[in-house]
């Protein structure tokens, strides 16, 4: 019983990560140069997954446990990761929308954005290389 209470205490006390500079990136050949916060929210909340020019987008996200995911959604939407997961469980498990493809690392997202013309992802700002295009920046 004591061990169970300890586990519950640890679970209740879990911290949220701090925000770092985050860059939203697209393929170098993507004609889009910038995106508004609302358009980015619509894409990452599965409401309307398209670039401002109307082209369909392929959104990339991180696996649920990744430390960048919570800060990104908190800065973008004002909602913590639990609220985002609850929202996505509503629309994903009801079959309305497929969630973004999830990756385990920024380098995996970078690699895919380099190769997929209509991809969009986010990485720590200091991960950005010259062969992708930054269209939105979240500053610490």
């Amino acid at each position: 019983m004591g061990r169970l209470l300890s586990i519950v205490f640890v679970l209740i006390s879990y911290p949220f990560s701090a925000t770092a500079d985050i860059a939203v990136i697209v393929n170098k050949d993507n004609p889009v140069d910038s995106i508004s916060q609302r358009q980015l929210i619509d894409m990452y909340m599965g409401k309307y997954v398209a670039f401002p020019n109307g082209d369909m987008a392929v959104t990339y996200d991180y696996e649920k446990s990744h430390p960048l995911r919570g800060p990104f959604f908190l800065a973008l939407t004002g909602r913590n990761e639990s609220q985002i997961n609850a929202y996505w469980s509503r629309i994903k498990f009801s079959g309305k929308v497929s969630p973004p493809q999830s990756f385990s690392s920024p380098s995996a997202i970078l690699e895919n954005v380099r190769n997929i013309p209509n991809a969009i992802g986010y990485v720590p700002a200091d991960f950005v290389t010259g062969d992708v295009k930054v269209i939105y920046q979240i500053n610490d």
Binding site: V8, L11, I12, Y14, R38, Q39, I41, D42, M45, K47, Y48, V49, A50, G54, D55, M56, A57, V58, K64, G70, T77, G78, R79, N80, E81, S82, Q83, N85, A86, Y87, S89, R90, K92, F93, S94, G95, K96, S98, Q101, N118
Partner: protein, 408 residues
């Protein structure tokens, strides 16, 4: 059902040829307790059993498993199994989703197979405890309509407007769902020619939604047929309204309509959600069922406290009037049976409930709920009952629920 089978066949084929499948799921571990000595509490009329007084019940728990295969940017296959307490038609009821989704472009989406039935705001995700701040969808609003799935097709159009996203969806198909009642009553209710339209407008914080759905009953319970046969044997002189009663008890091909308006506001600190609905039919079995609820919630970091008030009232009469002119025992037996079928959806009750939700991690939530229910009468279609308590029913009772809700 054929479309579901085809979808499953396609889905199983993908397992053979592709490893690019996303697996995910959700689970609820739930304990329920009540102080009612008359009602056996349940959350939907498709639950075969209910919680009785002095027992702690875990049969509300469930596990959902979902697989999605992305053939390309436009085509996806989705399958979902929901494992929970079932008594009949288990395999069919366990298959919650099995459909092909085709995104023509960013505006148009087409789906075929078994999808969710988009009747009300939460119909499609009412089994996913983690997805909602309340412990479970309001019983008065969601319990009485068991159908959650559509075997058919739907077409959706979405477009960005100045402030938000507007969408319209139309759907067509069939649905089947079990209904359980007292005395081992079981009916696998089939709906055919389901045709509906849902209009939605949403921003980050606001969601407004309206729905209208029409359908026809595709089958009837054998008791209804036997009752009509028995009534047809009764002389008109003894029961002058016999023919009208026979017709009103005939549910086959009768039209049912569902209308609803829903709204949700969630700015991450405050939550307001409300729905109103009208369910009607051109049969005496279900007559103008009006339901609604409002939920107010406040978030405190990892905690959410919400309050819900919900109610349901129908125009169904308790008794068939007029009855036979001669009170012979055999006629009175038929009269009682006819009254039971006509009065099945006679509902008039409201509930107030408080839910505390605690985020134990970004994928695990604990919920505690206390609900107080006041019913105009028992028996009620919402519940199962201790039949020997009908002489002294408790029309006011409490239900306590503790649940752990995961997504993975």
């Amino acid at each position: 059902m054929r479309s579901v089978f085809i979808c499953l066949l396609l889905f199983s084929t993908t397992f053979s040829y592709s490893s690019d499948i996303d697996f995910s799921g959700f689970a609820t571990l739930k304990a329920v307790k009540t102080d009612s000595h008359t009602a056996k509490i349940r959350e939907t009329i498709s639950q075969p059993s209910g919680v009785t007084k002095d027992e702690l019940d875990f049969s509300f728990s469930s596990l959902g498993l979902q697989a999605e295969w992305h053939a390309n940017d436009n085509v996806e296959l989705v399958g979902q199994l929901l494992l929970k307490e079932q008594r009949d038609d288990r395999v069919n009821n366990a298959i919650k989703l099995a459909f092909l989704r085709y995104n023509l472009n960013s505006n148009w989406q087409f789906r075929a197979g078994r999808t969710g039935l988009d009747l009300f705001l939460m119909t499609e995700y009412r089994d996913i405890g983690y997805s909602m701040d309340m412990e479970h969808p309001p019983v008065e609003f969601y319990s009485i309509i068991p159908h959650q799935n559509l075997d058919g097709v739907d077409l959706q159009y979405r477009a960005p407007l100045h402030q938000g996203i507007a969408g319209i969806k139309t759907y067509w198909g069939r649905s089947k769902s079990p209904i359980y009642s007292d005395n081992d009553f079981f009916w696998n209710v089939e709906l055919k020619s389901i045709l509906g339209v849902a209009i939605q407008y949403e921003t980050l914080n606001w969601l407004f939604r309206a729905n209208y759905t029409t359908t026809k009953s595709a089958n009837e319970h054998q008791q209804q047929r036997q009752l009509r046969d028995a009534l047809s044997q009764v002389p008109l002189q003894v029961w002058p309204t016999r023919n009208e009663l026979i017709e009103s008890l005939n549910i086959l091909d009768k039209r049912f309509t569902y209308s609803a308006f829903s709204m949700r506001y969630d700015d991450s600190k405050w939550l307001v959600q409300s729905e109103i609905s009208l369910t009607d039919s051109n049969s005496s079995v279900l007559n103008r069922l009006k339901a609604g609820y409002i939920t107010l919630g406040k978030r405190f970091d990892l905690d959410t406290l919400s309050f819900t008030y919900s109610l349901a009232k129908s125009d169904n009469e308790e008794r068939v009037e007029p009855g036979p002119l001669v009170p012979l025992p055999e006629l009175m037996q038929i009269y009682e049976a006819a009254s039971m079928h006509s009065g099945f959806y006679q509902l008039d009750q409201y509930s107030t409930s408080v839910t505390w939700r605690r985020e134990l991690s970004p994928t695990l939530a604990l919920k505690l709920n206390w609900k107080h229910t006041s019913a105009d009468h028992l028996p009620s279609a919402f519940y199962l009952h201790h039949i020997d308590q009908f002489d002294d029913p408790d029309l006011s009772f409490n239900t306590f629920t503790l649940s752990f809700n995961w997504v993975f």
